[in-house]
């Protein structure tokens, strides 16, 4: 099916027909500013510990920002504000937005701040931008996200930190020596950051495995979905669909221009893997989970007026969006289920109106569980206070260029990838509405409706 679709898109006759397929109403609302996505780019997403290993997070973010400048030809002083998302913070660059912007050569008069909201951090960056523009405070905002898992802050133990801080204050040699003498071997064991909920101390993979089990998602279903993601990503990569990816000359290394985590395997190979979190009977494996990734993304968001005034041809309108949150223990990764019906209602749309779905694939099991939850009247009634189910997206419209499982998932960079991909797919496939949905740690979720910009 995908092949036919892609080939159809190259066909000029089809192009002509899609121009006229905008039969549906526009989602513009009176009194609400039209806000547009001018363009979006990202660095190649690489498995952590590979080519980016020696960089720092702001280096990656800088690459994405420079890429955006190159792609759009935007004057460096035309940007009113920069918002960046990040999850695992490098302590030296806690406002990574500012460090990256300065390094990327943006005007030092352009303020920048960093937001964090787990895997929807760059969604938050984008909606912050939307808010700034809608409120009339800015006209052009760059939003983005960066995640760098090749290096994470590993800390001394609390006791050791306490001793070291006291050491700073100790005035006499005797006081210093006695503090040094208080150090025990156990104090030297480091604290590592974990991809775990602070509130429940459960790692996300563990929660995903339980979620999959709760919805009766089998190992086979998960492996099939993972394989689908890799297969589609490969096809998209080979077919040149992933045009948001920029080439990046990594200092001291080669030029990188492709995501390196796409690995279509066979079902037999996938079946061989042992469960990674719940052992020995769990179903979530390394292959059906998203992997630790380094990467950065950036988008240029403007008011429609400003974009047109600057001569841009916007790619899409950013319309309604919602944030949701629920039980971080048992519904940690069900954000899309909760967010989708809410944002559709807000836009006055139904699931059938949506032409393009881009959901963040944290785990194959998580996606399948969400799809099952969305298909269940019982779940909608019992847990969401809704009369009926919203329905599951049809697979032929769903993540057809791969997803986080295959392309990679640099936590805070994924949101911009999703939105840019929706815009690109709408253009390629000729749809009018797209839907982005994602889950995030903390039991939160997000969804946004995107409308294609008339060609």
């Amino acid at each position: 099916y995908y092949t036919t679709l892609t080939s159809l898109c190259d066909n000029s006759t089809f192009r002509w027909t899609i121009k006229h397929s905008f039969s549906k109403k526009t989602l513009a609302k009176p009194g609400v500013k039209n806000i547009v996505l001018v363009d979006g780019v990202r660095t190649p997403f690489l498995q952590s510990g590979t080519t980016y290993a020696d960089l720092m997070p702001h280096d990656l973010a800088r690459a994405a920002l420079q890429g955006l400048l190159n792609r759009t030809g935007l004057p460096k002083d035309a940007v009113d504000y920069i918002v960046y998302g990040t999850v695992i913070q490098e302590v030296k660059t806690s406002n990574v937005a500012r460090e990256a912007a300065l390094g990327a050569g943006f005007s030092d008069k352009t303020p920048a701040h960093t937001v964090t909201m787990a895997c929807i951090s760059s969604n938050q960056a984008m909606t912050t931008a939307v808010g700034l523009i809608a409120a009339g405070q800015c006209d052009a905002v760059v939003a983005g996200g960066v995640e760098f898992m090749s290096d994470v802050p590993i800390r001394h133990s609390r006791k050791m930190r306490k001793t070291m801080l006291s050491l700073n204050k100790a005035k006499t040699l005797g006081a210093r020596l006695s503090l040094l003498g208080s150090i025990r071997l156990a104090h030297l064991s480091p604290e590592l950051p974990a991809v775990a909920e602070f509130s429940t101390a459960e790692t996300m993979g563990h929660s995903a495995d339980r979620l999959a089990a709760a919805f009766g998602v089998s190992r086979l279903e998960q492996d099939e979905f993972a394989l689908r993601s890799h297969t589609l990503a490969k096809k998209a990569q080979d077919g040149g669909m992933l045009s948001d990816v920029i080439s990046f000359k990594v200092p001291g290394r080669d030029i990188v221009s492709k995501d390196n985590g796409i690995r279509p395997a066979t079902m037999e190979q996938l079946a061989k893997l042992k469960p990674a979190f719940i052992k020995p009977h769990g179903t979530v494996t390394a292959a059906n989970s998203s992997f630790l990734t380094d990467g950065a993304s950036a988008v240029l968001i403007m008011s429609e007026e400003k974009a047109l005034a600057m001569g841009y041809k916007p790619k899409a309108y950013l319309r309604d969006f919602v944030y949701v949150s629920q039980d971080p223990k048992d519904q940690l990764l069900l954000g899309p289920t909760y967010a989708t019906p809410k944002v559709l209602e807000k836009s006055g749309l139904t699931l059938n109106d949506i032409d393009v779905f881009e959901f963040h694939e944290a785990f194959a099991g998580q996606i399948m569980a969400n799809l099952k939850a969305m298909e269940s009247d019982w779940f909608a009634q019992t847990y969401m206070g809704r009369k009926t189910k919203v329905g599951a997206p049809p697979m032929e419209k769903f993540n057809t260029w791969g997803g986080s499982l295959s392309l990679g998932h640099p936590f805070a960079a994924t949101g911009c990838r999703l939105v840019t991909t929706v815009a690109h797919r709408l253009q390629k496939e000729g749809g009018q509405y797209g839907l982005v949905a994602a889950c995030a740690a903390g039991g939160q979720g997000h969804a946004m409706v995107i409308e294609a910009y008339p060609q």
């Binding site: 429940t200 339980r210 020995p280 009977h281 019982w378």
Partner: protein, 761 residues
């Protein structure tokens, strides 16, 4: 003591025959026709899934019916050549098998009869242990007593990591022992020290601990909601996992034996040495004797059974187990403990119906030990609570107490720090009456002074809504006197908590003649939510508990004046079965409180409450010997050494009040009975006067609130088992020496005259 039923088989022989008949395939015809109600099974991929569900109860118990059906089903499975393995699972959320029906033992007349039942159970489990196909026990919820013995007879155990999943052998708490192979299998499974710990304490073991101990092989995470409710889906999932493991066992993909670590190997080696084992038996025996004072026979029998099994082999072990169980079942201690168990169950129910409004917001006045304790157990159950004090200092102390109480739970891992924070967020510490306009119940725990209580009643009634209940936490002031200041006495009730509130299980609720039934229902509902065991008694000075304790403490003071030292007094009382000695108890309660109560109740009840001189207590208070809280009472506290030192200042006071001990009533046993008989007589008088509604609540109140010896089952059961006539005789003997403090009350005299009269059937 969540649930305590032990395994028994239907009636020995038939059950046995049926079981030993496995391998013959002709058995299934008649049983297949009969519809089963408790046990069902289906075969999935050559795995027989046996589901247990007692339709008549919230928990599964191995009663006659269940037993019979299990035997049938297991035989059918053994007779079915297509079945290669089996999974045993409960369809009930929260209960695997909570044990066997206690009534069966109680129906037995002789020890032999009980032993016979036990032997049948032992053999049944032995059959399962030696089953030709592997059995997997899939455990979700309580797996106790006979349920655990069933599970450990299976080849493999999988348990959910749910909070409700607990494993244990609580038999010892009923004066019994694990009688269906438990004393034989557990030591082999978890090692001698851990097995002793389990069986001698009866403690509940959570799933992850059970895994570490080697009691279960695998853990299954409880699931959240999916396409079915969390509970339903978790059981389904447990079954799916268990079926997989059952298949794995058949296909030899799963091995039962886990690899032993070095420590384990060393321990096994050491335990293999007879002198080492001998030393362990001896150490455990001594420890039990020290803690139980020899008053509880069950722990000693448990040691004996384990020792016999290990040293003389299985056959001797099983025999020892069944025989000793039979003997224990006939002891008064076991009857007393079982009586307490049933009493406790009865006192965990609301007999006053559903209250009109649920208490969703509670306010506690006074952030002292009591107030903060009440606040802690309330927020712990998710009820928003205001903690109000008059000073910032007092409030901070109270809030810290609540925090510490919860934080200690995080250290024990029964609570996560996040859960602790969530619970703490329900507490609002304040100095004013803000928010009282939305309170559904106010519990005051201010200083025990009538005029202060009156002031508080008036202040609070001015700010609370009309439906709000006003509960007063007092240990002795009559509620009607406090209610005299109230404009709405029907909404006023007494709630007497015991310190420390988060540890003591009892709540004594006191109703006046004006208290409405709905107010009572609401107070009971709140108490139950707080996890309390509740007795509801009538109003009067000292209500029930304080009133029983006061004469005993008066007698204790007299004994002290007569020259019995605090240590001697403590050893006499603990030797009788009180968990805390009388002198220590006085220090714990507070000498000032004791003086206060003694004086108040002395005024109310006259010379019957005499004995020791109240001035002794008053003098101690004057000198600052207020008990543990002030660092000095009968003893000196605060020193780090384990040995408690007698407070020489208190000794001096006692010397100045010295009395001569009448030799006829001053032998050790006399002193014990002087103390106990005054307690018991007052309890019986409370029943006679209608302060107490029934003997059950009297026993529960005395044991759970005052530490009356559990092995005696409470004052009323004690009268029944000891004999009212014998007790009256003793009291008359004491009466001759001391006067009316020992005059038996009418109801006690009635029971003494007619031996067929008993408080408990």
């Amino acid at each position: 003591m969540a649930s305590v039923r032990l395994l028994v088989t239907r009636s020995g022989c038939t059950a046995l025959k049926a079981i030993t008949g496995h391998g013959q395939r002709s058995l299934s015809v008649s049983s297949a026709v009969l519809a089963r109600t408790h046990v069902s099974y289906e075969v999935k991929d050559n795995v027989a899934v046996v589901r247990i569900n007692d339709p008549t109860s919230k928990v599964n118990t191995l009663g006659r019916h269940m037993q019979a059906e299990l035997v049938e089903v297991i035989n059918e499975i053994w007779g079915n050549s297509a079945v290669k393995s089996a999974v045993l699972i409960s369809s009930k959320p929260g209960s695997f098998i909570a044990g066997a029906d206690l009534n069966m033992f109680q129906a037995c007349k002789t020890a032999e009869e009980v032993s016979y039942l036990l032997q049948a159970g032992q053999k049944m489990f032995e059959q399962i242990e030696k089953s030709p196909i592997p059995f997997v026990a899939a455990i979700n919820g309580s797996c106790l007593g006979g349920g655990l013995e069933f599970a450990i007879a299976c080849q493999y155990r999988i348990a959910t990591k749910s909070k409700k999943t607990i494993l244990g052998t609580p038999e010892v708490m009923l004066g019994l022992l694990p009688g269906a192979g438990g004393t034989q299998r557990l030591p082999k499974m978890v090692g001698l020290p851990a097995a002793f710990d389990m069986m001698l304490t009866g403690r509940n073991i959570k799933a992850d601990k059970a895994k570490k101990m080697g009691l279960v092989h695998q853990l299954v995470e409880p699931l959240g909601p999916g396409l079915k409710s969390a509970e339903e889906r978790t059981i389904e999932y447990l079954e799916e996992v268990a079926v997989d493991f059952a298949k794995g066992l058949t296909g030899k993909k799963v091995t039962v034996e886990k690899k032993k670590g070095l420590m384990q190997k060393v321990q096994d080696f050491v335990m293999g040495l007879p002198p080492v084992r001998k030393q362990i038996y001896k150490t455990v025996h001594n420890k039990v004797m020290k803690q139980s004072k020899g008053l509880y026979p069950a722990p000693l029998k448990i040691i004996e059974c384990v020792q016999t099994g290990i040293e003389k082999g299985n056959a001797a072990g099983y025999l020892s187990e069944s025989e000793n169980f039979g003997k224990l079942a006939m002891t008064s201690v076991s009857r007393a403990l079982i009586g307490l168990f049933y009493g406790q169950v009865a006192c965990k129910k609301n007999h006053f119906g559903q209250p009109e409004r649920e208490v969703k917001k509670l306010a506690v006045l006074g952030a002292g030990l009591m107030g903060a304790g009440i606040a802690q157990v309330t927020i712990d159950k998710g009820v928003a609570t205001i903690l109000k004090d008059t000073t910032e200092e007092g409030l901070a102390r109270g809030q810290q107490q609540v925090y510490k109480g919860l934080n200690d739970k995080t250290k024990k891992k029964s609570l996560t720090t996040f859960e602790r924070d969530r619970i703490m967020s329900l507490l609002s510490g304040q100095l004013d009456y803000r928010g009282f306009e939305n309170a559904d119940m106010v519990i005051e725990a201010v200083f025990e002074d009538l005029s202060i209580k009156h002031k508080v009643v008036k202040e609070v009634e001015a700010v609370i809504p009309p439906h709000c209940i006003f509960a007063t936490n007092t240990s002795a002031l009559p509620i009607k006197d406090i209610a005299a200041a109230s404009k709405r006495p029907e909404k006023l009730i007494g709630m007497h908590y015991f310190s420390p509130v988060d540890k003591m299980q009892l709540l004594e609720i006191i109703t006046t003649s004006k208290t409405s039934k709905d107010t009572t229902a609401s107070a009971v509902a709140v108490g139950l939510k707080q996890g309390k065991v509740i007795i509801v008694v009538g109003d009067g000075p000292g209500f029930y508990t304080t009133r029983c304790l006061a004469p005993m403490l008066a007698e204790a003071v007299r004994a002290l004046q007569e020259g019995v030292g605090p240590k001697k007094l403590d050893s006499l009382t603990t030797g009788f079965g009180f968990p805390v000695g009388a002198a220590t108890l006085a220090d714990e309660v507070g000498i000032d409180v004791a003086a206060h109560v003694a004086e108040d109740l002395g005024k109310a009840f006259g010379t019957r409450f005499g004995g020791g001189n109240v001035e002794v207590l008053k003098m101690m208070v004057q000198k600052g010997f207020k008990g543990r809280k002030s660092g000095k009472g009968c003893y000196v506290y605060g020193a780090k050494s384990k040995e408690k030192k007698v407070n020489s200042g208190a000794e001096d006071i006692l010397k100045s009040f010295k009395l001569t001990a009448p030799p006829a009533v001053s032998a050790d046993e006399d002193i014990q009975y002087r103390l106990v008989s005054r307690f018991v007589n007052e309890a019986v008088l409370c029943l006679q006067e209608g302060i107490l509604p029934d003997p059950v609540q009297g026993d529960i109140g005395a044991v759970f609130g005052l530490g009356f010896p559990p092995c005696l089952g409470g004052p009323f059961r004690f009268v029944d088992s000891y004999g009212a006539d014998k007790l009256v005789q003793k009291m008359k003997h004491f009466e001759e020496a001391y006067g009316n403090q020992f005059t038996p009350c009418q109801l006690l005299l009635d029971h003494a005259k007619d031996s067929s009269k008993r408080f408990h059937k």
